[in-house]
Each structure stands twice: as C-alpha cells, then as structure tokens.
Subunit: 148 residues, 2 copies
DNA sequence: GTTGATGCAAAGCTTTTGCACACCG
DNA sequence: CGGTGTGCAAAAGCTTTGCATCAAC
C-alpha cells in the first residue's frame, strides 16, 4: 500500500463524513481503516480492540461514536443477523450475506451481475437500496454434515 | 396441556416444537400467539408485556426461552436491522422487509409472485432460504419530505 | 467563542445464568 | 426418578450518557 493511495482514501472518507455533517477526525478515519483492514464482520468491541493497537488512547465511547458517524455517512453497514452484539461491515461494494445455520458465520456474497430482485412494492414506498440475506450451510459445515 | 380439544393452530405449533426437540408448553404456545396477534416486530420486552396480560406469572427469562425455542423451530424469525434490542416476527409467509431510513420502522413486503434472486453463490454454499431487506423512505416519510 | 469530538466513568438497557421447584414421560 | 421448563434474582454483556477537556471552525 502506497502513501499516495492511503491519502486518497483518507480524502474520500473525509469527504463522505463532511457531506453527512461530521468532522473527519483522526479517530473516525482510524476506525474506518481498522474496519477495512480485515474483511470480516466485527462487533464494536472487536473494532475497539483492533483500533487500540495503533491508537492506544481511543475509548469505547469514541468507537461507538465513530461507527455511528461512519454508518450515517454510508461508509459502513450494520450486519445483525443473530442475537448478541451488533456487527459492522465496511465492504460497501454491492454484495449480500450468507449466514450459516450451523456455525453462525457470516460470509460476503458478491452480487456482481445479479438481476434486480423483482418484488412488488406497495404504493408509496421509495426504496433506494436492498440487501439479500441467504441462510443455509456454508461449505465447511455442509462438508461435515455430509461426512457424518 | 389439557385433554380439551386444542385448536388446529395449537396442534401445528406443538408439532413444530416437538419436531425440533422442544416440549410444547403453555408458555411457548402463548408467546407464539402473542406474537401472531399483531403484525408488527416487537422486542422481547414488548412480547413480555403483551404476554403478561393473559399470563401474568410469565417471566422475562421464560419469554427469552420461548422465543429461542420458536426461532429454532422456525415458527418465528429474528429481524434485527438497527442497534438496540432484537426484534421478532411471526409472519413466516414468504415476505421481505422494508426499513425506513427516516423513522426507522420496519414493514413487511409481500413477495408473492416474486422472481428468485439471481446471485451467483460461491462453490459449496448450500442456501435454503433468503430474505431481502429494502431500505429507503416509507410512504409517510416520503410524503413529509416532498411536502417540505 | 461556539460548536463538535474525545475520553473516562457511570448509568442504562438487554440478555443470560444459576438455582430451586414443578411437571412430563 | 431423570430430564426439561419455569420463575426469580443476580450477573453479565452491550450501548449510551454526563461531564470536563480539547480541538476545529
């Protein structure tokens, strides 16, 4: 990763935050980077732990504040699919999620080339985006079940 | 329960619970009925409050236990879309959800006659169901925004 | 200076757990 | 009996809030 690319990313994040009425603080961009560094779906606490490695003075309250700001700026999505702490996802590319019934893991499913879902919307609703949650067995668990 | 004739619904619920290895207790069927009585997406606490009206001795822990059993028996779905308490939905007919960005309400969107979503699943995943979450403005909020 | 953000600690809300008792098989 | 479920209370987990301080506009 080059310094040039990084600053470009920073700029974009800053711009998005600004557009939504938030200041682009070091904490906010750092939380965003923490989230993008790994393609998983961490809880606020996991983000906090990771973020602290590079920014030891950051607090939990700030992580929540940052995540809120990032979600409202459409830089990060909530991905709750079961009880327990809210999870966050920084992959804003068009994609969906697959939740394994067996192990509970969440996977990103690319939606490139997918057809728009055809669902009749009742009058008056103005949808501007959608996300599909698939459920079933992930490759690992499907293998284990078959193996038995 | 008693030997008195149970309703057809009760029987079906009992059967589903049994199939999943749960006993069909009065609390479980009552929580299920409480949930089906109104077509909304209450939190566990809201379910508790409603359930207590007819069954004053029921406890919060039991409501959680019942909801768990119902979810595992596929009689009830979790519908989390924002931070805060988990919400539950007993409408298991094929349908999707619409979440309003403005007021945060969740609406059921009928999916009758909808086309299967066409998304390329990576090798090995065995999906058996899916749900689409739409986001945007509900009729009320869309109206107010236009009005301004 | 005014407003917004941070860090800390405390409070608040949501969910789970341990335990004694009751019930079903 | 043995195991499951319930109700209660306490604990644990997750998130928000109040406040003093600091930084940005």
């Amino acid at each position: 990763m080059s310094a040039v690319k990084e600053s470009k990313l920073d700029e974009q994040v800053a711009q998005r935050l600004d557009q939504s009425g938030f200041r682009a603080t070091p904490q906010r961009t750092h939380v965003y980077k923490t989230l993008t560094a790994k393609r998983d779906h961490p809880t606020a606490e996991e983000v906090f732990i990771r973020a602290k490695k590079e920014m030891p003075e950051i607090s939990m309250a700030t992580v929540y504040n940052c995540l809120d700001a990032l979600v409202q700026s459409n830089l990060v999505k909530l991905v709750n699919h079961e009880r327990g702490a809210t999870r966050y996802c920084s992959n804003m590319m068009e994609h969906h999620h697959f939740y394994c019934d067996e192990c509970g893991s969440a996977f990103d499913i690319d939606s490139a080339g997918a057809r728009e879902p055809l669902v009749k919307m009742p009058a008056g609703f103005k949808p501007d985006r959608y996300e599909i949650a698939f459920r079933g067995l992930c490759p690992d668990c499907a293998g284990k079940k078959r193996g038995k």
